[in-house]
Amino acid sequence: MPGADKNTDLSERIEAFLADLKRGGTGAGPLRGSAETARETTALLRRITAQARWSSAGDLMEIIRKEGRRMTAAQPSETTVGNMVRRVLKIIREEYARSRGSSEETDQQESLHKLLTSGGLSEENFRQHFPTLKANVIEAINELLTELEGTTYNIAMQALEHIHSNEVIMTIGRSRTVEDFLKDAARKRKFHVIVAECAPFCQGHKMATSLSQAEIETTVIPDAAIFAVMSRVNKVIIGTQTVLANGGLRAVNGTHTLALAAKHHSTPLIVCAPMFKLSPQVPYFPFSPSHSYEQRSVTHSLWWVRREILSKVNVYCPVFDYVPPELITLFISNIGGNAPSYIYRLMSELYHPEDHEL
């Protein structure tokens, strides 16, 4: 039966993707970087849309939610997966609304008045069957994929507006988005980049090598020197792992220090973050460890400690910092620059409020 074949093929792919996610989505595993994770997720969701058995938008959303929950559980620190699931859910809602002839705008607008008067949006059950829905949804997901392909480029395009000649730029660790951003600016302008190495994994070293290959004047500094060097810096440009709903960041460890130093010296802090990193999560305290860090093996030095000593030593290696929104000057996303205070608005445009919890 061809249908069964299709189904096993699909579930096989889902399992493989889940396994890849579990093996460390952030650089260590087979999936490299969140851009690729986002693309992979979206492609998989498109496949689910095309191959799974569903008759109405409600069914499809249920299937995608279920798989989405599994995917986010597989790698809680990789928020991109959840974000993409929400984007696709939003697409389905829009396409369904369009098929029914009502504009999605009416659904979207949520005023206090409307919340109080209406019985709730969820009465909409998405049960109506539309033969064209599948094609439309796939078409819309394809558009999303095209958007994802272009994010890094779109961000890099804006580089010349922000980087001027003879400026001193500071960055931390390695972010592909920032790397492309700086390289793009380097085509026209001469400037100096200072890279904080970001111990213990020292991704900054890689970043510096790559930048200097693009003939950008680059200096690597230890993390401890960030504050000392900050007075000479004109701008801080960093990447992030996630942009939280309040406009804060979950970024590589050391970013908070960097942001505080920048604030002290009133140096503008610019965050390059594609839209798919925008997550409806809000920070909660204490920042739960499984969200703030995932420990990789820190084998470098402490592995050599002898038995008697090591049994009394706990090694903690947080991977992420929370950076509060008041320390951030500007977000540069693929759709332009935004202040942190505007993030909530972008959030409501990208995701449907009912999808915040998968």
């Binding site: 096993t8 093929d9 579990k22 460390g24 260590a28 739960s288 084998t299 592995w303 002898r306």
Partner: protein
């Protein structure tokens, strides 16, 4: 019965997946593509073939024992799958049905699993060697495969090692048969199992293993010199390696095990390969990884350290909250100080989970408990005021109030009554009941099985190293009742051994379980070190018999005698004492002595070819010097003949030196070591082989004999 159970998905998707995951640029040509697409196979041995975990493994095979609340075999399978293994053969022997049941239920046997698991069971497997011979007989592996035990916990990415292995095999066809994976780790690190401590000599450039030896607590290690003679100039002797027990093998390995039916373990294999390298032409290589984690849970001490490493997240991404086995229900949560809580855990008022604690689902903990560095399984019931430190409590355990447990293992369904105290390294096997108000001394092992039961099963179940212990315990627990003094008034269970008893045998079991350093006994010490005498150019074979050792000793004595100018009388004393030490007959002493002396010039000028004349010039003074030594042993007629036959044997091998032979014989005659009459007799006795006849036809010898005859005639005329 062999039952390849499970679920081969149709070959289509499998090969497609192969392409996907191998990321290979396999579009170069038909040949290349074929190589790229070789699916990676693995042989997983879900049996340890020893009894290190014994009273525990009586009820559950080792591969299924929980480590961080997940069966050990799942870690191994996850490791294999994440390195890209697509087909795994799991070999089970002891309690194979349980392993099979577990695997069939697990995610590895689902049709969507990227790693197809075949389960092969047989009660006939007695060792790793048996399994690999079966692999060969059934022709299961076609390509390079990964060989691991079912108790290896690792997150090492062996892809690089695999590529190196394949590259080596491409460059030199079928020379390298195995690549062993090691992790850098300082001596004394807690993930290093002390009884598994190894020392490896390697060729730096080619990563070839030249010498592999378990140190076994030896203070003095010796290496055969010949390993440093061939190959490149750079060598490393490394003691900073942890053997991960992961090896990448070529299909030849299985064949080699079939050819050498005496190989039982991987250790035998490696040593066999290294010793017979020149004959078989196979080499073994190694791969050293700096990051990653890999360790084998070979005893309870390792169980302790691997568990604690797991909880301290050294094995990331295999962490307790990752739920890589896809268990139903929500995974456990991870909070500060490495505290993991499963769903439905309840914690009483005032209870503290200090650090590094993992608690499985549905467990309830009473008030005022103090828990640190411990793992608690699912559905346990823990009372008030309980202190757990380094405790490994498995599933469905009931612990009443005021209990203290430190560094102990408590198996499934154990009940511990009020006021019990478990001191270090106690083991409570399945279903035991302890208490109330007893204190178990260090190293107590309690099991529901009577130690005697084991006796009967011993012969057919296992080839064990612990047989001796078992018999010891017999007298102690003759009465088939529970001893309330040991396990408490309500207690159920038999105490196996208590290390506090003044019984050396007892200590051994506890050490077996926990794997403390066994003090190497002096015999094994000397045996292990002496064969590797650095002056000895001969490759010592693994099983060296006493005669051979004796010969080497005699050689050493003579060399020393020469260097330090020791008188012949003292040498005689030394040789005599060696004779008794190795229980050598007088006749053998004679033969050895002759042979050693005759070969002596070769030993001195290693590697240099001696001409017959040179040989003679070196040897003659020596014979003169040691003549008293010979005279001491060569007394009776038979002695002379023995000496001569050894002499003949030597020269049969050294055809080139026949011209020197006559000089040697002559000098021995002149020094009155050999008597003419007996030389004549030896000559006339005739030879048994062609070569011997040839030797006798040698002109020089014939002349010498003639001369002897004439001399005899003359002397008789004189009289």
């Amino acid at each position: 019965e062999d039952a390849p159970a499970a679920v081969a998905p149709s070959s289509g998707p499998a090969s497609e997946r192969g392409k996907q995951s191998r990321s290979g640029g396999g579009r170069k040509g038909a040949d290349d593509q074929e190589e790229e697409e070789q699916p990676l196979q693995a042989v997983l041995i879900a049996d340890s073939f020893n009894r290190r975990f014994f009273p525990i493994t009586k009820d559950q095979p080792r591969a299924l024992l929980p480590l961080g609340n997940v069966a050990m075999i799942d870690y191994t399978l996850e490791f294999l799958t994440s390195t890209g293994v697509q087909e795994t053969f799991v070999f089970c022997c002891w309690m194979s049905h349980k392993i099979k049941e577990h695997l069939l239920k697990s995610k590895w046997c689902r049709p969507t699993s990227p790693n197809t698991v075949h389960i092969i069971t047989s009660d006939l497997y007695r060792s790793l060697g048996d399994v690999l011979r079966d692999v060969d007989a059934k022709n299961l592996v076609r390509y390079d495969f990964v060989l691991v035990y079912g108790d290896v916990v690792s997150n090492i990415d062996v892809t690089q090692a695999l590529q190196e292995h394949k590259h080596r095999r491409k460059v030199e066809k079928n020379i390298s048969v195995m690549t062993m994976v090691f992790k850098e780790s300082s001596p004394g690190h807690k993930s290093r199992c002390e009884e598994d401590d190894i020392i490896v000599a390697m060729d730096t450039k080619s990563q070839r293993v030249l010498h592999y030896q378990k140190t076994q607590g030896l203070k003095k290690l010796q290496f055969p010199m010949n390993i440093f003679h061939n190959g490149s100039e750079d060598f490393e002797i490394r003691h900073d390696l942890l053997d991960c027990h992961i090896s990448i093998c070529s299909p030849q390995v299985a064949e080699l095990f079939t050819d050498n039916f005496d190989y039982q373990t991987r250790n035998d294999f490696v040593r066999g390969m290294l010793v017979n390298e020149e004959i078989l032409g196979n080499q073994i290589h190694m791969h050293v990884t700096k990051d990653g984690y890999g360790a084998r849970v070979s005893n309870l001490l390792m169980y302790d350290s691997v568990s604690s490493d797991l909880i301290r997240r050294w094995v990331y991404p295999l962490t307790p909250e990752a739920n890589f086995t896809d268990r139903e229900g929500p995974p456990c949560t991870h909070s500060r100080h490495n505290v993991y809580r499963g769903p439905g855990v309840s914690l009483g008022h005032g209870s503290q989970m200090v650090e590094n604690v993992l608690i499985g689902c549905g467990t309830s903990i009473g008030a005022d408990c103090h828990i640190s560095n411990s793992v608690i399984g699912s559905n346990c019931n823990i009372g008030d005021n309980v202190t757990l430190d380094c405790a490994y409590v498995w599933n469905h355990v009931t612990i009443s109030k005021n209990v203290t447990i430190s560094q102990s293992v408590v198996c499934d369904r154990v009940e511990i009554r009020e006021g019990v105290r478990l001191n270090k390294q106690c083991v409570l096997a399945y279903n035991v009941l302890i208490g109330p108000n007893v204190s178990l001394p260090d190293g107590t092992v309690v099991s529901m099985h009577h130690p005697d039961e084991e006796e009967e099963e011993d012969d057919d179940e296992f080839l064990s190293d612990g047989d001796a212990d078992a018999s010891q315990s017999k007298e102690k627990n003759k009465q088939k009742g529970f001893n309330p003094a040991e396990v408490g008034v309500e207690g159920k269970g038999f105490v196996w051994k208590t290390s506090s008893l003044d019984d050396t045998e007892d200590e051994e079991l506890s050490q077996c379980l926990w794997g403390l350093v066994l003090n190497p006994d002096p015999e094994s010490d000397s045996e292990a070190s002496e064969p590797d005498d650095p002056d000895d150019p001969v490759i010592p074979s693994p099983e060296m018999d006493d005669v051979k050792v004796f010969e080497l000793e005699v050689l050493g004595t003579l060399q020393r005698g020469l260097e330090e100018n020791i008188g012949c009388d003292n040498l005689v004393v030394e040789v005599n004492s060696l004779k008794y030490a190795y229980n050598i007959t007088l006749r053998e002493v004679m033969q050895m002595l002759t042979r050693v002396v005759l070969e002596f010039p070769f030993q001195q000028q290693q590697g240099v070819q001696l001409s017959a004349a040179q040989y003679a010039t070196v040897l003659l003074p020596l014979i003169e010097r040691w003549a008293p030594l010979f005279k001491n042993y060569v007394k009776k007629a038979q002695d002379h003949l023995d000496c001569l036959s050894a002499f003949e044997e030597h020269f049969l091998e050294q055809e080139k030196h026949w011209p020197a032979m006559i000089k040697v014989l002559m000098s021995m005659y002149q020094l009155e070591i050999l008597e003419e009459e007996l030389i004549m007799r030896w000559f006339s006795q005739g030879a048994t082989t062609d070569k011997g006849r040839q030797l006798r036809k040698n002109q020089g010898l014939q002349k010498f004999i003639k001369w002897l005859e004439e001399a005899e005639d003359e002397s008789s005329e004189d009289e």
